[in-house]
């Protein structure tokens, strides 16, 4: 889990300019820089968490993001990681069913914190279809990697879908119809996380 989080941090850092550019087009242009700052702080803590269970690692990740991101992604991803961590408390390994449960808890946390649902041009438009695909795959008996590959594809399609809709949540909702045609930065960062998870399990 520590290696996966480091890989996510590296990916976010690599894409921070692009994420910021996407955010600049429709909102306040802080997403990439904020996320890179938050995950940079997470990386600084990870080595100290060696040997801890997955739940504790994810919980610390969430709390660190809340304290360091500074934009909406802080409370949203922070709550998501904390909820996922609570679900995986005490576990040192994660199977497909665990991943489904963790993702369900994470999405529930984001919906609760952001009072958002799908179709509002947010990270949920990547995460919810990904969760549905993952759950369907695991329930059909697929191994975790195959099911997660479908989830990543669903998230990618979800990011594409955000280009076609108007933002009704978050800062981007201030520009209304003018947000159509632009890809949502939150959905994009969520896709990067899932893609990186797939590449590292």
């Amino acid at each position: 889990m520590i290696d996966i989080l480091k890989a996510i941090a590296a990916k976010i850092d690599e894409e921070k300019d692009y994420l910021t550019e996407l955010d600049n087009e429709i909102a306040d242009g802080d997403h990439g820089v904020n996320m890179a700052k938050g995950f940079g702080a997470v990386v600084a803590k990870l080595d100290g968490l060696a040997g801890k269970d997955i739940g504790s690692i994810l919980k610390t990740t969430g709390m660190t993001l809340v304290s360091t991101v500074g934009g909406s992604a802080g409370p949203l991803y922070g709550t998501a990681f904390m909820k996922a961590g609570a679900k995986l408390a005490g576990k040192n390994e994660m199977d497909g069913k665990d991943l489904v449960d963790a993702m369900e808890a994470a999405i529930g946390g984001i919906q609760m914190r952001g009072k958002a649902t799908t179709g509002e041009k947010t990270m949920l438009d990547a995460l919810c279809p990904a969760y549905d695909a993952l759950k369907a795959g695991i329930e059909a008996g697929e191994d975790m990697k195959d099911a997660l590959a479908k989830a990543v594809k669903a998230a990618e399609d979800g990011v594409e879908y955000t280009k076609t809709i108007k933002a009704t949540k978050g800062r981007a909702s201030y520009i209304g119809d003018r947000s159509i045609g632009h890809q949502d930065p939150g959905a994009t960062s969520a896709f990067y996380m899932l893609e990186t998870l797939l590449a590292n399990i």
């Binding site: 304290s67 934009g71 802080g74 914190r113």
Partner: protein, 128 residues
Amino acid sequence: MVGVVIVSHSQTLAEGVVELAKLMASDAKIVAAGGLDDGSPGTSFEKIYNAVEEVYSDDGVAVLMDMGSAVMTTEMVIEAMEGRKILMLDGPVVEGGVVVALEASLGTPLEELQEKVDEARDTKKLDN
């Protein structure tokens, strides 16, 4: 006296609201929690947490926030301080901040402050 915390993405905006409120209510317990630790734009869990602590008493604390993460981060601070008397107020940060500081300094209880903010929001500035 109820304490008041102004949460904004901008440090200068939050401090400005406090400055304005103090003109009307110099003895109000009102503090700013704007921007990140280094002063750059954003909302900081620690800054909000520390601000609430600074003005906290048994009378409670009212918090006015600007938008987005200011609201969500404040919610997380309140959850972390579970059991304390802290209330988020919904309304304009500038007018609401001034009214709440004034009312709090006059002894209005926490439970009645949302009503005062609603009045501030509904007060027209122009005749038309």
